[in-house]
């Protein structure tokens, strides 16, 4: 195996590993006659000017993004999770019933809508305030945004499939609780 191939092997293994890999374990993937130290050195030089660097941590190797690019990975304060069921349902109701008030959403869902849910959907720019209803209290309504349509590749809310249509396609509801 030439050095180029040895480099490729190490590269691929490091790429698919979240943890540092020990030089010993890497050695086992290469023929005995390969001088691994030499290969590491070549790789390190290769990656030095790039966006990802090869680092030695103790007796192990790991690929890490270059330090000067850390601004690309600034942590946002939103928690890492999928859209909650409440948010999905709220979004769906707004899409199908817009313009709709918070009270109406709650009536359909049978539970109160947390303000965090509305905030999140607003932050994602999927919903916005609509006109006020002409009922007492003149409650504010919600409607979906153009960004929502754009994001989900719809040309209008009329493109949303109806419930019967979904059933005809054999789309099952049972899986909705899985996140």
């Amino acid at each position: 195996m030439n050095s180029q191939n040895a480099q490729r092997v190490i590269e691929a293994l490091l790429f698919t590993s979240a943890e540092p890999l020990s030089i010993n374990s890497l050695k086992k993937k290469l023929p005995d006659d390969v001088d691994i130290e030499e290969v590491i050195e070549t790789l390190q030089k290769h990656y030095e000017p790039r966006g990802v660097n090869l680092k030695r941590v103790g007796d192990a190797l790991v690929l890490r993004t270059a330090k000067d690019l850390r601004h690309l990975f600034i942590k946002k304060e939103v928690t890492k999770r999928n859209l909650s069921r409440a948010a999905r349902e709220t979004l769906a109701i707004i899409a199908y019933h817009q313009p709709v008030t918070k009270l109406e959403i709650e009536e359909i869902r049978g539970v109160t809508v947390g303000s965090g849910t509305i905030d999140l959907l607003m932050e994602l720019d999927w919903i916005k305030f609509g006109r006020r209803k002409s009922t007492p209290g003149r409650p504010i309504t919600f409607q979906i945004t153009d960004h929502f349509l754009d994001y989900f590749d719809l040309s209008s809310v009329k493109d949303l499939p109806g419930v019967k249509e979904l059933k005809d396609l054999g789309i099952s509801v049972k899986k909705i609780n899985r996140v």
């Binding site: 691929a12 928690t79 999928n82 069921r85 199908y96 009536e107 359909i108």
Partner: protein
């Protein structure tokens, strides 16, 4: 059968019955044609029809007749075609036969091609089998990307879940059970417009209760709120002679008296 197979195989074929593994008449015809090594573009419909019919006779087909509409349709027109091939009558019909033959050949060709392509597709190198994604530290990943995993089908399923659970129709559901305020106001407006006599609260409630079938107490509550709202707008005035007396209303005349 374990869960995963159940999940990935179609366990409930709906309108087609798999006869010895054939998925519908087109599938069977294609297999017959291929076993004869027929060029699909020069289909020998006569021979094929005969084989198809023979196949149906040979299989324990009759007991399943109620399930096999597709096969029956295919069988009946193949029979018709065969008979026309044997006894050609006039030129028009012959043309018809050619046309049908051509269309069938086209359909078989298409199915055969798609089948090839499906095989090609699944023979390809695949993610997590032949090539692999990055697992490099993602602790600092930007969050929005994760939220963006939502697909429109997730949203739709969420909606279907609600609709199913509550037995809601596509519009706001409690429609039949509640008298919504805007409806109450509309109703009051109509009544006020149509009648010249003095209207009472009790009459209004009774009228809407009878016509809509909604619970009388709910009607009363909605109508009362509606009256308050309508009075506030200055469209009517209300008066009551004493405690528990009848609540009466009248239009406010806006005409300027000259």
């Amino acid at each position: 059968m374990n869960d995963s197979t159940e999940y990935y195989e179609d366990t409930k074929p709906e309108l087609h019955v798999s006869l010895d593994g054939f998925e519908g008449p087109l599938d069977l015809l294609l297999t017959l044609a291929k076993s004869q090594k027929v060029d699909l573009k020069k289909l020998q419909l006569g021979i094929l029809a005969e084989q198809f019919l023979k196949y149906l006779r040979d299989q324990r087909f009759k007991s399943k007749l109620e399930f096999v509409g597709d096969y029956l349709v295919m069988a009946s027109w193949l029979t018709l075609l065969k008979s026309q091939l044997i006894i050609p009558e006039d030129e028009n019909k012959e043309e018809n036969v050619d046309k049908i033959n051509e269309l069938l050949a086209l359909r078989l060709q298409r199915l055969s091609l798609i089948r090839e392509k499906a095989t090609w597709l699944f023979d390809r190198p695949k993610l997590l089998q032949d090539f692999f994604p990055s697992s490099i530290d993602k602790n600092e990943k930007v969050i929005k990307e994760d939220l963006l995993k939502v697909q429109i089908s997730d949203i739709l399923k969420a909606y279907m879940g609600i609709v199913d659970k509550k037995n809601y129709e596509v519009s706001l559901a409690s429609k039949e059970e509640y008298l919504f305020l805007d409806k109450a106001i509309n109703f009051i407006e109509e009544q006020v417009k149509e009648s010249t006599a003095i209207l009472s609260f009790a009459n209004l409630v009774k009228a809407i209760h009878v016509s809509s079938g909604i619970n009388a107490k709910r009607c009363a509550a909605s109508i009362f709120c509606g009256l308050l709202e309508y009075t506030k707008l200055g469209k009517i005035s209300m008066k009551q002679e004493g405690v528990f007396a009848s609540l009466e209303l009248a239009k406010v005349r806006n005409e300027i008296k000259g």
